[in-house]
Subunit: 460 residues, 2 copies
């Protein structure tokens, strides 16, 4: 956007010139929320100056757009008083997010900088479990009373609404603060001014509890096209709201978590670029070691067939091909089923439907790979002698093993996520490599059993 | 929600009793948008009755909440005239989505049912490329003129806004329909009524082109916390808007695509539960065959070392363990890097930073697995004789191969997505199994080369 580049350039120039009068004048007509994403592109030094000279609201809004490491650097460049002012001005939900990422002792220091009121808010938000709705909610909402008229409500909004993060939905509460309903602002705008708010209520609203998981909030937002959802305590008292813009971040974070687990590591929970090497290695090593220990069973399985391999070395040549084909088929099936479960297409009770599909799909895929494998060996045998005089039987062995192992991989890959879910685990944990390892070990047994049956009396 | 269950039950009961007077009365006070998600839970038969008896707007809104197969079934139960009424009442963006999923000849039939005006709208939306902003945009927006006062604008909204999908943002256009600015409704509400709209403009807005990819829209929504973004043509004329609720679906669809590719198949582009077996097998077979053909190179690689295997069968025992460890390390690295690229943490120019990280991480992970592998063989050798008299050398071979192959897998896995991106391909295509296959082939060469160096003169 040329517009954006201009704004950034003007800010940079005015800051470089230290022309703070012109800077104030330039900032004046802007809405803080519009300026913040552009200001966030400035350098740390420029931001520090802007924060000292600009409005506290602008500083707070811009701060929320910065990545974590820029936030930390910036706070270090401000003095105690400036940092305290900034922290106090942050929207409570963004502040919680930030404090939560800091080491405990620094978070405590920062809590100490807050005014008693803001500290109480921050502490209560931080007390909710990680990834809970309570951590994400904002306390800035507009609540009106049912006995007011539309005109009174609109006047109230005009007077008190300015600082609110979201004004698209207005909440109606009784004298005790209990939530009666939510009304879209459009509803207010489209109603005659003298109608009482009570007449606009339809009693239809969806609530979240502060202890709900953020995934639950995400699925409710997907289902009901709302821009905000109210959060209530056990007495149905309205204590905050969660806004849809945070949901895009939740959707991204949840997808990242699932993808990383599917890739065979623990979820990093931090950006790849900023996580410390030790923490990253720890998260990757744990699964890699588990998979490795599982995979050592392949060496055990192979050692049972050591005599067969010694007699027919040609069998060893196809071991990597066979186990990886089973593994790939298993990864595919596991990934498809895990994702379908995550987006709600498949539930536990659908297991038989999934199994029937995978029986059919696995058989077809196995036939395709088995045929290619058979043809490949038969072709090579015409031109070389590496597969020996019994190449035909070897081709039959490999071809039929492929049918069996691809079918087996598809079944294991599709059923394991359902079994894990049934046992109360996260299905994404049955990551593709996990399935591949399981299929590797069983695949070897299938391979050598078929080989023994086909090649007994000739090669074996 | 008990509330929801009640509404559903009441609707079911009234429909079963065919008490259409009471039904109309029950529906009357509800906002269509609130009722629709609950009505969508009814059975197909109940819905058909509701659609014939209820308002056309309710039918249209409810229709958008149904899954594709329910939508198809429902349209079949309605007669031509009812179906036409429903289709004409659908919001244009949802209608595009629906038509787009149908076989061409049925979509054409449906287009024929639309009024000339609606047909023109539908055809122009369908003309935009798949996954483009044009396909998702809605034409229902409120545009006001800069010379109006806030009061005039609010009156206009009150009169014309009722059907609009989104009223949270109002667009300001000149006499030719060119977009001058967007204003949040809150801004209107918070301004004195006699101020001209012109005074509220800050000239700061972000536009989309109808041909932009939906991913671009998603990233803009993430960056600017807006509930809607305007879509303009090449003359900056406002032609539609895209709303944030569609973005949650886009985020989900994009994540599904990436996950399915990472799992080693083409993106299904349809739900797992409803895609036809043939189409699913086609999408899975293509990659499985490519990976299989790549993997046949392992048989070729192994055949070069046939003599070594014949002399030292013990080497064959560790082939699955070694190649799968390399493959797992590669999958991990590839998944982490692909995801970090997708969320914008890593760009091409960061390749050296990534490589340094993976050198360090790969070496550490390799040392861990190498040590475990060494210890495992040494331990077993104390109790069994399967590794022969030279078990010490075998342990050294396997241990050092593991260090090398885990390091190699991490480097390949992290660099391949960057290389693919540089060449203009989708990095998610370098799916984990793809990396694993590459690492398998090269890993065998590493293994037998190290074995040859360590075991020459003893086993080999």
């Amino acid at each position: 956007m040329p517009q954006e580049a201009n704004v950034r350039l003007t800010l940079s120039t005015l800051i470089a010139r230290r022309d703070f009068v012109a800077l104030k004048k330039f900032l004046e007509p802007w809405l803080v929320a519009d300026l913040a994403p552009m200001a966030a592109e400035l350098s740390i030094e420029e931001l520090a100056t802007l924060f000292r000279q600009g409005s506290r609201e602008l500083a707070a809004a811009t701060f929320t757009y910065l990545p974590l490491d820029a936030q930390k650097k910036l706070l270090k460049t401000l003095n105690q008083e400036q940092a305290a002012a900034l922290l106090n001005a942050l929207p409570p939900d963004d502040r919680t997010l930030f404090l939560n990422e800091l080491p405990l002792e620094i978070a405590m220091q920062m809590l100490g900088m807050l005014t008693p009121d803001e500290r109480q808010v921050a502490q209560s938000l931080l007390a909710y479990p990680k990834h809970s709705v309570g951590r994400m909610m904002t306390l800035d909402f507009v609540a009106v009373r049912p006995e007011w008229s539309v005109r009174e409500a609109l006047d109230y909004i005009r007077e008190h609404g300015y600082d609110r993060e979201t004004l698209n939905i207005v909440y109606v509460v009784d004298a005790d603060g209990r939530l009666l309903d939510d009304i879209r602002v459009r509803r207010l705008l489209l109603s005659p001014l003298d109608r009482p708010i009570r007449d606009l209520l339809d009693g239809n609203f969806t609530m979240l509890a502060p202890t709900d998981d953020r995934e639950k909030a995400l699925s409710l937002f997907k289902r009901f096209d709302r821009v905000a959802l109210p959060v209530t305590d056990e007495n149905q008292k309205l204590i905050g709201i969660v806004t849809v813009d945070d949901m895009l971040d939740v959707a991204e974070a949840e997808a990242t978590e699932d993808i990383q687990k599917l890739g065979g590591s623990e979820a990093l929970d931090e950006p790849y670029t900023t996580i410390s090497l030790t923490r990253m290695v720890k998260k990757r090593a744990s699964w890699l070691v588990v998979l490795f220990l599982g995979e050592t069973l392949t060496a055990t399985a192979m050692s049972y067939f050591e005599d067969e391999i010694a007699r027919a070395v040609v069998l060893a040549l196809f071991v990597p091909l066979i186990i990886s084909s089973g593994g790939n088929a298993g990864s595919q099936a596991a990934t498809l089923v895990i994702r379908a479960m995550a987006v709600g297409e498949i539930r536990l009770r659908d297991w038989w439907r999934v199994m029937r599909r995978e029986l059919a799909a696995g058989l077809l895929l196995g036939l395709i790979l088995g045929t290619i494998g058979f043809v490949r060996i038969a072709l090579w045998a015409q031109f070389t002698n590496i597969y020996g005089p019994h190449w035909g039987l070897v081709a039959v062995t490999v071809g039929s093993t492929l049918i069996g192992i691809v079918l087996w991989g598809s079944l294991m890959g599709s059923m394991l996520p359902l079994v894990l879910k049934r046992l109360g685990f996260d299905p994404a944990t049955s990551s593709a490599p996990f399935v591949a390892t399981l299929v590797d070990v069983t695949g070897l047994v299938i391979y050598f059993t078929i080989a023994y049956a086909v090649l007994r009396g000739t090669l074996l």
